[in-house]
C-alpha cells in the first residue's frame, strides 16, 4: 500500500531520518515506536506530504505521493490542530473536516461526539488538552481515510478516555478495515492493538516485525547464573542482571518448544518480555546486535 525507499530528511545540518526503507501493507494496524527525537513525527509528516523530503521515494499504491491529490485524499494524519485554528468553534472544525475528507462519515462523527461527551459549541482554545486531542481523534476516526495516522493520539487523555479511543478504533476497524499507523509512547496499553511494530532509532528504522513474532522471540530467562550463561551463549542478548547467584537475561531469539522444555527442565524460568520493556532494550543501543 505504502512504499518508502531511501528516504532522507534533515533540518539544516541536523539529520533526522536516514535512508528509511519501509513497506506498509493494507488493512493493518502498525505501531510506530521510537524515543523522543527519533524522528517519528517527521516520518509521519513526510508520509502525509506535510514536509518536504531531501531525497527518497514515498509511493502510495505505486504512485508518488507528493502533490498527488489521489494519494493524499486517502490519508488522514491526526496531530495537534494548528494554533491558528484555536479561535474556531469545534463544530466548524468538524464541518471543515467533513468538506475535506471524501469518505467522511457524519453519523459516526455524531456518535463519537456523544460517546466522548464533547461540547462542539466551544471554541478550540476553551477546551481542555484532553478534549482538544479528542477533536483530532474524532476527525481521524470519522474521516474513514484508507490510511489513518495517529501521532501521539493519547496526549492529555485520562485512562478512561484512552480506553474509549482504543475500543472505538478496534470496533470501527472490524467493520471498516483500513491501515492505521499509531505513533505512541504508551506501548503496553496499545500492544494488543498493534499487528506490526516499527521501531525508529538513531534516525533509522531498526526493526519492523509482527507483534506475535516479537513476542515469540523475546524472552527473559532467569535462574542459576552459570546455567543461564550457558543457554544464552551465542544468542542475541538484550539485557542482563545479576542478583547473587541468580541471573536474569533478556534475549531476542527463536526458542523452539523442545528448547523451552529443555531450559525449563534445568530450573530456568522463561517469560515473555513485555513490549514496552522490549522497546526500551531495543532502543538502548544493543539493537545493532539484534538486527
Amino acid at each position: 500500500m505504502l512504499e518508502i525507499k531511501g528516504l532522507n530528511k534533515s533540518f539544516g545540518s541536523n539529520l533526522v531520518l536516514k535512508d528509511i526503507n519501509l513497506d506498509i501493507e493494507g488493512n493493518k494496524i502498525y505501531g510506530l515506536l521510537g524515543r523522543n527525537g527519533a524522528g517519528k513525527t517527521t516520518l509521519l509528516n513526510l508520509i502525509s506530504s506535510q514536509l518536504i523530503r531531501n531525497s527518497g521515494d514515498i509511493k502510495y499504491q505505486g504512485e508518488e505521493i507528493f502533490e498527488n491529490s489521489k494519494a493524499i485524499e486517502d490519508m488522514c494524519l491526526v496531530k495537534p490542530l494548528p494554533e491558528s485554528s484555536k479561535d474556531k468553534k469545534v463544530r466548524d472544525i468538524f464541518t471543515m473536516a467533513r468538506l475535506m475528507y471524501k469518505n467522511w462519515d457524519e453519523s459516526y462523527k455524531e456518535q463519537l461526539i456523544s460517546e466522548f461527551n464533547l461540547n462542539t459549541n466551544k471554541r478550540l482554545q476553551k477546551l481542555s488538552a484532553g478534549n482538544k486531542t479528542i477533536v483530532g481523534l474524532i476527525i481521524g476516526l470519522a474521516s474513514r481515510a484508507k490510511l489513518t495516522i495517529f501521532d501521539e493520539p493519547t496526549l492529555g487523555l485520562d485512562a478512561a478516555m484512552r480506553y474509549m479511543f482504543y475500543n472505538s478504533l478496534l470496533k470501527d476497524y472490524e467493520t471498516n478495515p483500513r491501515t492505521v499507523i499509531i505513533s505512541t509512547h504508551l506501548i503496553d496499553e496499545l500492544a494488543n492493538l498493534f499487528e506490526e511494530v516499527i521501531i525508529l532509532n538513531s534516525n533509522m528504522i531498526t526493526l519492523k516485525d509482527e507483534v506475535s513474532n516479537l513476542r515469540e522471540r523475546s524472552y527473559f530467562l532467569s535462574g542459576n547464573g552459570d546455567i543461564v550463561n550457558e543457554i544464552v551463549k551465542n544468542r542475541k542478548i538484550l539485557y542482563r542482571e545479576e542478583l547473587g547467584s541468580t541471573m536474569i537475561v533478556g534475549i531476542y531469539d527463536n526458542l523452539s518448544e523442545n528448547e523451552k522444555r529443555e531450559i525449563r527442565s534445568r530450573n530456568i524460568e522463561i517469560s515473555t518480555i513485555p513490549l514496552q520493556k522490549l522497546f526500551v532494550f531495543l532502543t538502548e543501543g544493543t539493537l545493532g546486535e539484534v538486527m
Binding site: S69, E73, L77, P82, D92, M96, Y101
Partner: protein
Amino acid sequence: MDATSRILRFQLFNFKKTASVFWTILLILNIIGYVITKFFYSKIQIGIFHNGQLVSITGSNIMPILIFFIIYGIVIYHENFRLALNFGATRRDFYKSVLAMNLIASFTFAVIQAILQVIDKLFVNKMVVNSVISFQLNSNPIVNFLMIILVFMSILLFTASFMNIIGILQYRYGYKFWIGLGILIFGSSIFMGVRIVQLFLRFTDLFLYLLPRLGVFTIPTLAILASTIFYVIGYSLFRKVSC
C-alpha cells in the same frame, strides 16, 4: 467531487462567515453615514468629497475593502493553509483554490460595491443638492454598471494577487519576513530613492501610453496582467512550502 472542489468548499466556508461579518459592519456604517448626512450634514460630514461637495458615502468603503483583502491575503495562508494541509490537501490544489477564492472574492465584493454605488447615487442626490457622482465610465447605464464592476474587480484582484505573495512569504519566514521587508524598504529608500521614482514614472508612462489605446480597459488590462505575474511568482514561492 474532486479534491479541488472539496478544498474550494472548505475555503468558501471560511470566507462566507468572514465576508458576511465584514459587509454587515460596513453596511451598518453606511446606513449610519446616510442618517448622519440626512440630519446633521451641516455639522458632521462623512464620505468622499470633491471640491467641498459630498459625492459618495459608500465610496469610502473602498479603503476598508482593500484592508480586508490585505488581511485576507495573509489569513488565507496563516489559518486556512495549515488546516487544509492537515486535512489532506495538496499544495497545488490549495493554490488553485486560493486563485478561485480571490476571483470569487474580488467579483462578489465588486458587485456589492457597484450596487451600493448605484444606490448611493440616488440617496446622495436626494440628500445633498447638486452632488456629482464620479465613476461615469460609459453613457449606457448597464455598460457603465458592468464597467464599474470590472474596474473594481481588477483592482481587488490585483490587491489580492500582491497580498498572495506577502501571505506566502509571511507564512514561510514569519517575523523574519517583516524585518527583511523593513530593512528592504529602509535601505532602498536611502540607496535607490531616485531609481524607485524613475521606475514608478516608467509605470506611469506605460499607463499614459495605454490609456488612449485601451480607454476604460487600461486599468483592468494592467491589473490582470500584473495579477497573472504575481500569481506565477506566488506559486514558485509556495509549491515547496512545509506545514
